[in-house]
């Protein structure tokens, strides 16, 4: 560890996100309140009002403008930050895609919340799913310290000259956004040092007054195809880049999170549970208890959702006898969990084994210890050859 030990503060997940952003010294940040993220906006405004950061704060009149303002500032050359949730994300959907198309390295935190399809002021990951094909890197975190640390890492990823893609840092709304825990706030000088390599890169193209250079995402025929190809290639590179940054961060600050995925007791495991976000913490407890019972179960925390960490997942899942996937969202059209559906696409790499989809934790319902224990038992039974149900909506089938 190179960095100084930072001060420990007892703060919420939202606050952790705001501290993370502040430490990265964005040039322009925007805010528009939405439950359960509003505190991020309030915190940043308070930092600004008290002279703790010099960021231009723009209190916009809606999320669509929140994204367009940071997109404009980003393409002019600035470091930018914004935050939203659920239908705030829906309202900026066009701008979200536009920003990714012109490769603006924006960092946005999202306090995940159910999508507005059915009105719900409650947690869920449907908002992550609704924007998975927008060209943004999507990282999902488990606890408050990880929120702060991941915001810092997200700038290293987004602004890397071989990546130049916007990054969403996702954390469970309500659960993590309001959960108060001890969080170590790194020293400013250490964060500056950690981000310093970005300044040594070749400068990216920026909008300059008086310079005959424009920016938009207009491309025709092959030009368009080439831009798309480069966008996809950058996305592909982001997966291993995140692993590298996570290692660097670990060496520097003494904390690391596994990069694309975090494996827990998977090495000798027969069966694997895959989960993401705050539910992973609960799952670890269950895994330990089931190990005591003699079930050789391991856990994979899916941290990176876009790009999908297919290589690392395939390596971790190869040879396992059965897999259970817990989703906090649904896949319309496949009638299963979306992460489950994507994991099934790894079948050619990992072979045909029972894969079970569990939908749980929608609309703020708890993903409890008994719920996950049940998942482990059923996946374990399936591995032993017992017939199983492919998709289970846990709260409806308790």
């Amino acid at each position: 560890m190179i960095a100084q030990r930072g001060k420990v503060k007892v703060i919420t997940g939202n606050s952790a996100a705001a501290y993370g952003a502040m430490l990265c010294r964005p040039d322009v940040a925007t805010s528009y309140p939405i439950t359960p993220m509003s505190e991020v906006a309030e915190q940043l405004s308070s930092f600004r009002a008290n002279g703790l950061m010099e960021t231009e704060m723009v209190e916009v009149e809606g999320e669509n403008s929140a994204m367009n303002v940071v997109a404009g500032a980003s393409i002019a050359g600035g470091r930018t930050f914004t935050a939203t949730s659920s239908w705030g994300l829906s309202f900026m959907y066009d701008a979200v895609q536009h920003a990714a198309g012109f490769r603006a390295p924006i960092v946005m935190v999202i306090a995940n919340r159910e999508s507005p399809g059915i009105l719900a002021v409650s947690g869920g990951q449907q908002d992550i799913i609704s924007v998975r094909d927008t060209g943004w890197i999507q990282i999902i975190v488990e606890e408050c310290q990880e929120i702060l640390d991941t915001v810092i890492m997200a700038y290293r990823l987004a602004e890397d000259h071989n990546i130049l893609l916007p990054v969403m840092v996702n954390y469970d709304g309500f659960y993590l956004s309001y959960m108060t825990t001890a969080v170590e706030i790194p020293e400013q000088a250490d964060v500056d040092n950690f981000l310093a390599p970005l300044k040594k890169q070749p400068a990216r193209q920026m909008l300059e007054p008086g310079v005959a250079l424009g920016c938009g995402t207009h491309g025709i025929e092959l030009g368009f195809v080439e831009l798309r190809y480069r966008q996809c290639a950058a996305m592909e590179r982001a997966a291993t880049k995140l692993d590298e940054i996570d290692c660097d961060f670990g060496e520097y600050f003494g904390r690391s999170y596994g990069g694309q995925i975090d494996e827990y007791r998977t090495d000798d495991a027969d069966i694997i549970i895959v989960a993401s976000g705050g539910a992973v913490g609960t799952a670890r407890v269950v895994i330990d208890a089931k190990r005591e019972e003699g079930i050789k179960v391991g856990l994979i925390k899916l941290r990176l959702f876009r790009p999908f960490p297919r290589r690392r997942l395939a390596a971790a899942l190869k040879g396992k006898k059965a897999i259970g996937v817990i989703d906090r969202s649904v896949d319309f059209g496949w009638n299963c969990g979306p992460m489950y559906m994507e994991l099934r696409a790894l079948t050619p790499e990992i072979g045909i084994v029972p894969m079970l989809s569990y939908i749980d934790g929608l609309a703020n319902l708890d993903i409890t210890v008994p719920h996950i224990a049940r998942v482990v038992d059923e996946v374990h039974a399936a591995a032993k050859g017992k017939s199983y149900q492919e998709v289970t909506w846990i709260p409806l089938e308790e």
Partner: protein
């Protein structure tokens, strides 16, 4: 800049002699947008950042499916994100201590309709940007559909005059007045038949944009959508002013002033008769139109009378 005793003329305001555009561009013959777009950088200078969106201006200004046909800096935003993207660009330049004139240039479909919210938001936050609307009274690029600045009775492809339909049933949204009512550093209306007035307003716009939000609304007839001859556009601009259909005014820090007061306005029928999108209107329709024009002018006149 202007020290002569005599009334300054349009050329006195020019910062650039050179036209930053290519000679031949993909705009229609007789297009007022083209003349407006070529005119603006002459007064504002070429060190501006243009922010625009899909629309008639996009192919030339923002390189829609091509490269841009000019030598200026530009950002091609979404229709929903023009004033907001410009906000971000302008704030970043401010943060880094650079003085730059950020100019939004869009049609009425953006500023009056889909981009109105960010426009209104940017005005309220008093962002240091200039927003210029070329108002051709409809979605001309997509085929002459109505917008909220389409005037009362106008036949468009989505408010066609027919056996039952009489064109657009409601009058235009008065965007410059709305922005002025919100409060802005400078708001003005202008058109190409009154170039001295236009140039003076642009010069003032640049100056005032150092203090806050500037909005300029340009009356810009569309040859195709309005069904007029290619050599008629300027005459129609002039008639719009002479009938008080499009009064030329400005509001500096909330103080209104008519910049070209028309003492004996021509009847609106003279304007309506020049534009074939109104050709189905009958005498009672024209009388109603005249009433609408008179009422709107009376409001501006009252505002100008305020101390």
């Amino acid at each position: 800049m202007v020290e002569k005793k005599k009334k300054p003329k349009v050329y006195d305001y020019f910062q650039e002699k050179e036209d930053p555009y290519a000679g031949g561009v993909a705009w229609c013959a007789g297009c007022m947008l083209e003349l407006t777009a070529r005119f603006i950088p002459k007064v504002l200078g070429k060190d501006i950042v243009l922010v625009g969106c899909p629309g008639c201006s996009a192919p030339v200004l923002y390189g829609q499916n091509l490269g841009a046909w000019h030598r200026m800096s530009y950002f091609s935003a979404l229709m929903t994100g023009v004033a907001s993207s410009a906000t971000g660009i302008s704030r970043y330049y401010r943060k880094t201590g650079r003085e730059a004139t950020v100019v939004c240039f869009t049609g009425d479909g953006c500023s009056a309709d889909i981009g109105f919210q960010p426009l209104s938001g940017a005005a309220e936050r008093n962002e240091h940007i200039i927003y210029i609307t070329y108002d051709n009274e409809g979605y001309m690029n997509t085929g002459y559909q109505r917008s909220s600045t389409t005037p009362l009775g106008a036949s468009t492809s989505t408010t066609p005059a027919g056996t039952v339909g009489h064109g657009k049933p409601t009058p235009a949204k008065n965007v410059p007045l709305l922005i002025a009512m919100q409060g802005a550093a400078y708001v003005a209306t202008a058109t190409l038949s009154h170039l001295d007035d236009f140039a003076k307003k642009l010069a003032k716009a640049k100056e005032k944009s150092r203090e806050g939000f500037v909005y300029i609304h340009i009356f810009a007839p569309c040859v195709m959508g309005w069904r007029i001859e290619t050599d008629m556009s300027i005459q129609i601009c002039r008639m719009a002013v002479r009938t008080n259909y499009f009064p030329l005014w400005e509001a500096e820090d909330g103080r209104f002033r008519l910049t070209n007061e028309v003492t004996s306005p021509r009847p609106i029928g003279e304007f309506i008769n020049m534009v074939r999108k109104f050709s189905h209107l009958k005498e009672p329709d024209i009388a109603e139109f005249q009433q609408m024009v008179d009422r709107r002018y009376a409001v501006i006149k009252k505002l100008c009378a305020l101390e």
